[in-house]
């Protein structure tokens, strides 16, 4: 192809002519690239029949090229950026999922290990208290036995005196146990603590200075998920509270809000029991 010439400068421009020549070559190459090529690599124009195969070789099974196959592939201007965004999205999803799974596993592991150590401590405390109670009970029993024996002689006054002695024994028991644990007998309702899922309120029952029952009066139950979580978490929290005999209990994995509210409400109830003991 002849290099196009500027009619205003037919002699040619030493700087312009090489550029025009390159442009002409590039245009010709682009034109050739849009034509069909067979499997053998020979170039032919569109619409022409395929060339016969060489001797000894089968005809190509490739479908007859049509004008449609000559259409260039669609190019996305932001192909790289889209691929990057897709990769980041998938990576973020998997990364977040893995992080959440690892966090839950770590919570469960720490809860399990802390529970076993706390159980040991709680068991020792309970054993000590039981021993205390046993000693107290023995003392009371011996006192009752002495008192009972002293009233056996007069049968008519036995019942009254027994009652009085029983009351005395109970009072003795109560006084002895309260001074050990600092909690007055009775039922105490803790304050209500509200979190984003609902209210949490706890009630404790103290007998003989020992927390014998912990009941959750209110827990979040406004949605199915909360109900399912708390059905599993609340019994665990109750057992932990009874074992610890305090509000120093661990958070249940997956029930962070309920555990925190439970702890706080339990603490206020224990504080009330302690205040009642101090007042008496």
């Amino acid at each position: 192809m002849d290099t196009p010439r500027d009619p205003r400068n037919p002699a040619g421009d030493p700087l312009l002519d090489p550029r025009l020549a390159r442009f002409a070559e590039r245009s010709a190459a682009h034109r050739n690239a849009t034509q069909n090529t067979t499997r053998t690599g020979t170039t032919r124009t569109l619409g022409a029949p395929p060339p016969p195969p060489p001797p000894g070789q089968r005809a190509s099974r490739a479908p007859a090229p049509t004008a449609r196959t000559a259409r260039p592939r669609r190019h996305h201007a932001a192909q790289g950026s889209r691929a990057l965004a897709l990769g980041l999205s998938i990576g973020s999803t998997l990364g977040l999922t893995g992080w959440m799974y690892a966090a839950q596993a770590a919570d469960q592991a720490s809860t399990t290990s802390t529970t076993s150590s706390d159980s040991g401590t709680a068991t020792a405390a309970t054993t000590a208290e039981t021993t205390n109670d046993a000693t107290t009970a023995d003392t009371v029993a011996s006192e009752t036995a002495v008192d009972t024996q002293s009233t056996t002689d007069d049968a008519s006054d036995t019942s009254g005196e027994s009652t009085a002695e029983t009351t005395t024994a109970e009072t003795t028991t109560a006084e002895t146990t309260t001074s050990t644990t600092g909690l007055a007998d009775g039922t105490y309702t803790g304050d209500t603590f509200t979190n984003r899922w609902g209210d949490v309120q706890v009630e404790i029952t103290v007998e003989g200075g020992v927390i014998v029952d912990v009941a959750a009066l209110q827990v979040p139950d406004g949605d199915h998920k909360s109900v399912e979580i708390n059905d599993q978490a609340v019994p665990y929290l109750e057992s932990e509270a009874l074992a610890a005999q305090s509000a120093d209990i661990d958070t249940v994995s997956g029930a962070t809000y309920t555990s925190e509210g439970y702890r706080q409400s339990l603490q206020t109830a224990i504080d009330d029991a302690r205040a009642a003991a101090t007042a008496s």
Binding site: P4, D6, R22, A77, A78, S81, L86, T97, D223, E228
Partner: protein, 201 residues
């Protein structure tokens, strides 16, 4: 298995929210004719379409995994009918409406030429309230919504989306600047030009 589905629900929800805000912000920047000179409009438009499609895909994944997370107890009614959930009804309704807004936006883009421009544009603008509803849905229902890092992310997303929105509102009525190519006669072709991609939709 249910735990994995639960984690996937949360993670796909977070990623879908980021993609929605990114797609809306990219579209607002593009339509505001503030794409700058260094990046061509075709690049912005192509990225906007890609982000929109990915946001739709991850929203679908989020809905699927929330259905498969058995302890959530979600039914098809809760996923596709506004007000069809028996718990956290308001938050679920917002999510369903956001999904439908996005679906209308995305699926009316392909047959764009079948609509009148004004009709198509009005349908496409549903993406903005859909994004807002998605953010509110995430805050109300998201387990990670009270996480400080998630709060920082949400605040950043809202800030990043607000800037192009205000920019677009400020450029309302302004005609796009068109690049005028000088008429070049075949015989007087000087240096070969790069192939310019048409601007606009």
């Amino acid at each position: 298995m249910s735990d994995i589905m639960w984690f996937l629900t949360r993670s796909t929800g977070i990623v879908a929210l980021v993609l929605i805000v990114a797609a809306v912000g990219d579209g607002l920047l593009f339509s505001g004719r503030n794409t700058g000179r260094r990046v061509r409009p075709a690049w912005w438009l192509d990225l906007h379409r890609g982000l929109g499609g990915m946001a739709m895909a991850f929203t679908g994944l989020h809905m699927l995994t929330s259905f498969l997370a058995s302890d959530l107890g979600l039914s098809w009614t809760a996923l596709f009918v506004p007000g069809g959930s028996d718990w956290a009804t308001g938050a679920f309704t917002l999510g369903v409406l956001a999904f439908y807004g996005m679906a209308i936006t995305v699926f009316t883009t392909w047959p764009k030429r079948r609509f009148r421009r004004k009709v198509w544009h009005a349908l496409h603008l549903l993406s903005i309230p859909a994004a807002v509803l998605a953010v509110v849905h995430a805050y109300q229902l998201g387990t990670d919504a009270t996480n400080p890092r998630a709060l920082v992310l949400m605040t950043a997303l809202i800030g990043l989306a607000s800037y192009p929105l205000w920019l677009r509102l400020a450029t309302l009525g302004r005609r796009p600047a068109r690049t005028v190519r000088p008429a070049v006669a075949p015989t007087t072709t000087a240096t070969p030009d790069r192939e310019l991609v048409g601007a606009g939709h």
